[in-house]
């Protein structure tokens, strides 16, 4: 609870200071809570350099999509990317800003962080309620030499809708047909088993308190609270740990140019070093903005953030976008045009 709380307070303080100082050009954004701390930190630094402020309301991805569809903000932010056809239909340009992801966390006697290895199908079977105890043959097969307790598995999932859940269930859907047909992927799903808790801190508390529990939390949360994470076998069959490099590998190995809306969910990506439960967070901006000056400023802000914000992102345990992807994103910005059909952003 503490670290992510302090992160939020830190962000709130930053935004409060940026909000009070009136400026000539203020951009407004609304949406996902997951990237709020980094957007706030970027906004603070950006304001110091340029004098232009950003007012970002972290009202949740669903709210962000609603606000930008109603054009009440300059940009919307969402953890679950809109499908390319929806992006097209609503006249948006969609692009990713930072990478994060989920980490399975466990509470088992005598198991150190990173000692336990799981693969996708096993994880899906655990969350489906098919694997009921920790000494199940499927888990034992993946962990030769590890002494597994015979505790019952207690599943902890998110009770609130969340991009974290979307990434997790999307991964399980990709690796398990059973999961795909019975449960599916969304920000909230009908969980076949387990208890629900609100927020990353709720899941973390329940896992920490219950022997034999397994849950999933956002990467930064697991790292800052030094939780007992598991390693995962990725698509290439390699056991990887959830570290910044493995999230970045997943982002770098993804085929971002497959569609114009950057609709790419980073789960189960190829590459020996890729963490399989990764995901990016996205920005939505209208192709034909009503306030072209604000839209241009918003794009300038994100261009600045890609160029100068990597260090700040890393400090808050977000993973910056790989440089190759940034080039493609800035090219896509040409589609944001003013009334005369001229791109509002130029390098």
């Amino acid at each position: 609870m503490n670290m992510s709380f302090s992160r939020a307070v830190f962000a709130a303080t930053l935004l409060a200071t940026t909000a009070t100082a009136a400026s000539a050009l203020d951009i407004s954004g609304a949406g996902a809570t997951f990237p709020y701390p980094i957007y706030a930190k970027w906004a603070d630094s950006y304001k110091k350099e340029t004098g232009n402020g950003l007012n970002y309301q972290s009202i949740g991805s669903g709210g962000g999509i609603k606000q930008i569809t109603a054009r009440t903000v300059t940009f919307g932010a969402t953890d679950m990317p809109l499908k390319p056809e929806d992006v097209e239909k609503n006249g948006f340009v969609q692009f990713p800003t930072v990478v994060g992801g989920d980490v399975p966390v466990v509470n088992l006697d005598g198991i150190a962080p990173g000692q336990l290895v799981l693969d996708g199908p096993t994880l899906a079977n655990i969350f489906l309620g098919n694997i009921k105890t920790w000494d199940d043959a499927a888990i034992a097969k993946l962990n030769p030499g590890v002494k597994l307790p015979s505790d019952a598995i207690v599943i902890v999932h998110r009770a609130d809708g969340s991009g974290t859940t979307f990434i997790f269930t999307d991964y399980l859907s990709k690796v398990s047909d059973d999961w795909k047909t019975k449960v599916g992927a969304n920000t909230a799903v009908e969980w076949p088993a387990g208890v629900g808790a609100k927020g990353n801190e709720g899941v973390a508390n329940n896992v920490t308190q219950t022997k034999g529990a397994i849950g999933y939390v956002e990467y930064a949360y697991a790292k800052q609270n030094k939780m007992t994470y598991t390693k995962m076998l990725n698509k290439d069959g390699k056991a990887v740990a959830p570290v910044a490099e493995s999230f970045q590998a997943a982002a770098a190995n993804a085929d971002w140019t497959a569609n114009p809306a950057f609709y790419q969910i980073l789960t189960n990506q190829p590459g020996a070093a890729s963490w399989p439960i990764s995901g990016a967070t996205f920005i939505l901006i209208p192709k034909a903005p009503q306030d072209t000056a604000a839209a241009a400023e918003a794009l300038k802000f994100f261009a600045w953030a890609y160029k100068n914000g990597g260090q700040a992102a890393a400090e808050l345990d977000y993973v910056p976008m790989p440089a190759t992807v940034v080039t493609a994103i800035e090219k896509a910005w040409d589609n944001v045009k003013d009334a005369a059909g001229k791109p509002v952003y130029s390098k």
């Binding site: 207690v154 609100k198 329940n206 308190q209 219950t210």
Partner: protein, 331 residues
């Protein structure tokens, strides 16, 4: 005011016109006062109907889509957008009922002790303690429930009960494992602790209103304390007592934060009290912010409407009960 009146009456003979002017000024004042209070009272009605109308409008898409099945379906699937309210409704009713089952006898005990048996030196500290308990914000109860009560239940009480009732047919399924710590029973216990001070302080206050002569007369003819409470205090105060219980029930039905922490938030029905469940208000609090899609949002608003109706019926039932009791008393 009365001073000036007597002065005018004594010193000046009232001319007719002065009298009329004063009277009309009073009338104007009365009119203004009447309208101001009326407006406040009608404001409540307008507000209430506004809330009902907006709830109905918000809930309409879900109710049209699912019809009556919304009340009876246990499904709650945001992926396929198939929603049913059966498990939150059951969870709400079961946890509130259990909470009252625990809280009402204890509250009665406390109130009787405080008014009839308590040494005077203890009366104030106990009374203040109960009022302080009522003042604790619900989130504190939630955190306490999750960090203190749930682990305690999980490691001691629940394994014991599961073991104890294993051979008993019905109870074995009511107290079936695994012991999660959080679940329906934990939520009911927290709710009981939360409503206890409300019911107790109202009971104590109405018990105090019983005239001492009545009680002393009863004691005088040799009644025991329990007989005094049963035959004198209860008939005299039952309206207030039932009012207090209903207030507590109302709080239990709508309680959100504390329940969300300890109920487990699972849209599943189980015969076991140890299993995680959910309530209407916990579901709304958890899911409203990130509910994507109109049907999802509408279903959550429909849940709110159902809670509103349940609360309304509880209040109506309380009124009926009182009418019934008063009739009996009149016989």
């Amino acid at each position: 005011m009365s001073d000036s009146m007597t002065m005018t009456e004594a010193q000046l003979p009232l001319s007719h016109s002065v009298r009329a002017a004063t009277l009309s000024r009073f009338r104007l004042g009365d009119l203004l006062f009447r309208n101001a209070t009326m407006l406040s009272a009608y404001g409540v009605l307008i507000l209430l109907s506004g809330v009902i109308v907006s709830l109905i409008i918000g809930a309409a898409p879900a109710l049209q889509q699912f019809g009556f099945g919304f009340l009876t379906s246990e499904k709650w699937n945001p992926v396929t957008e198939n929603f049913g309210a059966f498990s939150p409704i059951t969870g709400t009713l079961v946890t509130s009922f259990l909470a009252m089952l625990i809280a009402v006898p204890i509250s009665t005990g406390i109130a009787v002790f405080l008014t009839e048996l308590c040494p005077p030196a203890l009366k104030r500290p106990l009374g203040i303690a109960i009022e302080l308990l009522a003042g604790i914000p619900s989130i504190i109860y939630g955190i306490w429930g999750l960090f203190v009560l749930a682990p305690f239940l999980q490691t001691t009480v629940q394994p014991f009960l599961i073991h104890l009732f294993k051979p008993v047919p019905v109870l074995s399924s009511l107290f079936a494992g695994p012991p999660y710590g959080i679940g329906m029973l934990t939520a009911s216990l927290i709710l009981a602790v939360m409503v206890l001070p409300f019911i107790t302080s109202i009971m104590r206050d109405v018990f105090e209103t019983v005239p001492h002569v009545l009680k002393e007369a009863a004691y005088g003819i040799g009644c025991t304390t329990s007989e005094v409470v049963g035959s004198i205090v209860w008939p005299f105060t039952r309206v207030g007592v039932i009012g207090g219980i209903m207030l507590g029930l109302g709080r239990a039905l709508g309680e959100t934060m504390a329940v969300t922490f300890v109920i487990g938030n699972a849209h599943k029905l189980s015969t076991s009290l140890f299993a995680p469940g959910t309530t209407i208000s916990a579901t709304i609090a958890n899911e409203f912010q990130e509910a994507t899609g109109d049907l999802y949002t509408s279903s959550l608003i429909a849940l709110g409407l159902i809670l509103f109706i349940i609360t309304f019926f509880v209040l109506a039932a309380a009124r009926l009960l009182l009418v019934q009791l008063n009739k009996q008393a009149g016989k």
